[in-house]
């Protein structure tokens, strides 16, 4: 199928992305859906983000902003989550807008949407309807609780999903309230699962020629994060509780050190004893040679390790442990993350220019396929590619696009 030329901002790269030739209509907003389609765009799909005329994706109004004042083109969450996409505007509440959308669906491989479950059928865009328009279409619907069931129309926020999915009961100090995650764990998980689900359906379409409807419930996707605790309940009846980071093994957590916290991880277990001279505490190896000994004497083992950690800096501890093949780490501040020599060597952070937001540094590829590049193009301005998309795909003249814009359809 024909593909649009890459966006103007694209660096000229020779090789095509892994998903080159896949056209995606993106009706998502906020986090989970945009992250899924960001991955599709990054790996070479042509993603056309369809936004509401005037205001666009509501995340354009959510800060923090790069600029001192809120600006729909400088929202950091929007800029990050929409890299590599083309941007068009279309009012789906108007009949003309819906006709144009239907024409786009005819030419799409994938549609990803993240409206509340009643919205798409209400617009006349149920999967059954769209399948009649384009039987090859893979339609992925991402919603808070899925397309069916008693919570289907429940309202959600990240903390509510985190609670209902079983994650929150396992996070935090048993003497205090359960604790929410800082980053948006449930929505990110669902975004990645939507990517896997969409590609699974595309793969099957490659064999059968038929599309599918992919139902992604953020709630259910997030449950996978507690799969071990859940399985232990289902098979053995044990109910896991939050335990303030005390791991089942010891040592296997953060301990205070001279300039922060270091992760002393006693694994891989076979490397623990040979590394014990690191700590200058002969009693460790003599009294607690096996994991069973350390588990039976957690306070004693920790009492031998804590003074050692307090005498040293976090990065010194990290490299010393790793030098002995132990999977040590440390509590990285955001400065530490940004300044990581490992990230620098792999060029994990990439500068991307933007006409309004200026040059900002972004996380680049989440994984590196050797033959097919990751595309790092900026997020689109609201309606930036109207003329190109509606011209190239639907044959509209510039004048026609201008009329549609003037009448508010675009």
């Amino acid at each position: 199928m024909s593909s649009l030329p890459a966006p103007d901002s694209s660096p000229t790269s020779g090789a095509a992305g892994a998903l080159a030739g896949v056209r995606v209509l993106d009706l998502t907003h906020y986090l989970a859906g945009p992250y899924a389609t960001k991955l599709m765009a990054g790996y070479g799909a042509e993603v056309i983000k369809v936004e509401r005329p005037g205001s666009g994706d509501p995340s354009r109004a959510i800060g923090p902003f790069v600029t001192p004042h809120p600006d729909p083109e400088t929202s950091i969450p929007f800029l990050y989550l929409n890299t590599g996409k083309l941007g068009v505007t279309l009012d789906l509440k108007r009949a003309e807008g819906r006709e144009i959308f239907t024409a786009l669906v005819r030419q799409a491989d994938v549609l990803v949407e993240s409206f509340a479950p009643r919205v798409m059928p209400g617009l006349g865009f149920s999967y059954e309807t769209l399948r009649a328009v384009n039987p090859r279409l893979v339609m992925t619907s991402i919603s808070n609780f899925g397309q069916s069931g008693p919570y289907r129309d429940y309202r959600a926020a990240e903390i509510v999903e985190y609670a209902l999915s079983g994650l929150m009961a396992l996070t935090g100090d048993p003497a205090r309230a359960p604790l929410a995650s800082g980053p948006a764990m449930t929505q990110a998980t669902a975004g990645m699962c939507a990517y896997v689900g969409t590609l699974t359906a595309l793969f099957q379409r490659g064999r059968t020629g038929e599309g599918r409807h992919v139902d992604v419930s953020i709630h259910e996707a997030a449950v996978d994060n507690v799969e071990i605790a859940f399985a232990e309940y289902l098979h053995a009846g044990t109910v896991a509780k939050r335990k303030d980071d005390h791991h089942a093994l010891v040592p296997w957590e953060l301990y205070p050190c001279r300039d922060g916290y270091a992760a002393l991880i006693g694994g891989p277990v076979r490397h623990w004893l040979p590394a014990n001279d690191l700590f200058g505490e002969p009693l460790l190896a003599e009294r607690y040679p096996h994991m069973a000994d350390r588990l039976a004497h957690r306070p004693e083992v920790e009492a031998l390790l804590r003074p050692w950690a307090l005498r040293k800096d976090k990065k010194e501890i990290y490299h010393a442990g790793q030098g002995r093949k132990l999977a040590f780490g440390y509590l990285a501040t955001l400065d530490d993350v940004v300044e990581s020599p490992q990230h620098a060597a792999r060029e994990f952070f990439e500068p991307i220019d933007h006409p309004v937001a200026g040059q900002q540094r972004y996380c680049g590829a989440p994984f590196h396929p050797a033959r097919t590049p990751w595309r790092s193009d900026r997020a689109p301005l609201l309606g930036e590619h109207n003329a190109r998309v509606f011209g190239d795909l639907l044959g509209y003249s510039a004048a026609r696009v201008g009329e549609l814009r003037a009448s508010g359809v675009l």
Binding site: S181, G182, A194, V239, V269, F348
Partner: protein, 414 residues
Amino acid sequence: MGDASRLPLEGVRIIDITHDWAGPHATRMLADFGAEVIKIEYVKRMDGMRGGRLENQLYNRHPRWWEINRNKLSVTLDLHDPHDAEILRDLVKITDVVVDNSRKGVSDGLGLGYDALVRIKPDIIVLSMTAFGQTGPEASYAGYGGCIEPLSGVQSLTGYDHSTRPVRVREVDVTNGVMGACAIMTALVHRQQTGRGQAIDLSQLEATTHALMGPHLMEHMSSGAQPLPLGNRDARVAPQGCYRCRGDDRWVAIAATSDEEWRRLCGAIGRADLVDDARFASAEARMRHHDELDRVIGAWTAEREPEAVTRHLQAAGVPAGTVASVEDLSRDPHLEARGFLHRAADDSGRYPGTPFRLSGITAGVRMRGPFLGEHNEYVICQLLGRPKSDVRPVREQDIGTAFDIEGPAPGAAR
């Protein structure tokens, strides 16, 4: 190939040399949708998820093993042994994807690096899921969730406040597993279009950082902002929190994400008087008086069970959800109505379902995680057509563990 009711990944064969959680979670997702995942196991040092106990074959019976490795096959091979290495090379010839999560260099040393495998199978896809990637000064370092989570910055943002020790979310293994599945599907779709396989370098540190930290790091790099853990509050909307309910350690999460939801919340808890209170007129104002709001909301929830709070507030259009334990999940009416839990076809019990569903497809749990070497004969004789004499029975005296929980096992690890 054309039968639409077949599982979408039927006919895709994956050699799984991963261990612990992240790598196995990646292949579990694909096994659920029909891929034939063959787990290569090393008897002298079993996967840590099999634990360290040999009595009553406990290593075959851990619920976590059954879950993470469900729908997979197990074949025991010692890749240091030339005979077994040859069996693996034979298997590679009929395989689509090889996945490993060992540290850099381990696979190459066993002849399982991409350069060796592509000579055996020209369109092979090889996913390496190391902790830190194949390049860079820390490429040889090892990682578990316990070090990747703090190194990614995730843990620096999770805590009750900035004065107490940050807390782990603890589940970045799953984040990395799902990203591993993303990588495999990307390469499979590409191969279907072009006929070409490829190697993929996935750094678990980068994957977690990308999925969970992207906007936070951009903000930091843009403005130098140093975000601190917010406990159960939100940076922009209020009130939001986790409130104690009636019962033993029962809690509910509540968020008013707009002025409208705030007004609904006031009405729903019988405090319509607060709607016109100037102290709570905007999100900024409510943020300033958050402690007071927490007392008001907490007093109301304390007399109710979390499920009742959730139903009542959701009926009023306010985001609220029970802090569900795994026991609560097992009888959640919504998950039940959606048929989320699966009863395995092999009668091994119930399992959580799949994190996405495809119309017209019933993916689910066909089989618990395999017993050690359970499919040696199937793989070696049926798939590869080799004689039964090539199949070595698993002998308990040969078993070693990654996990010396009760001291070294007989015939212990190298």
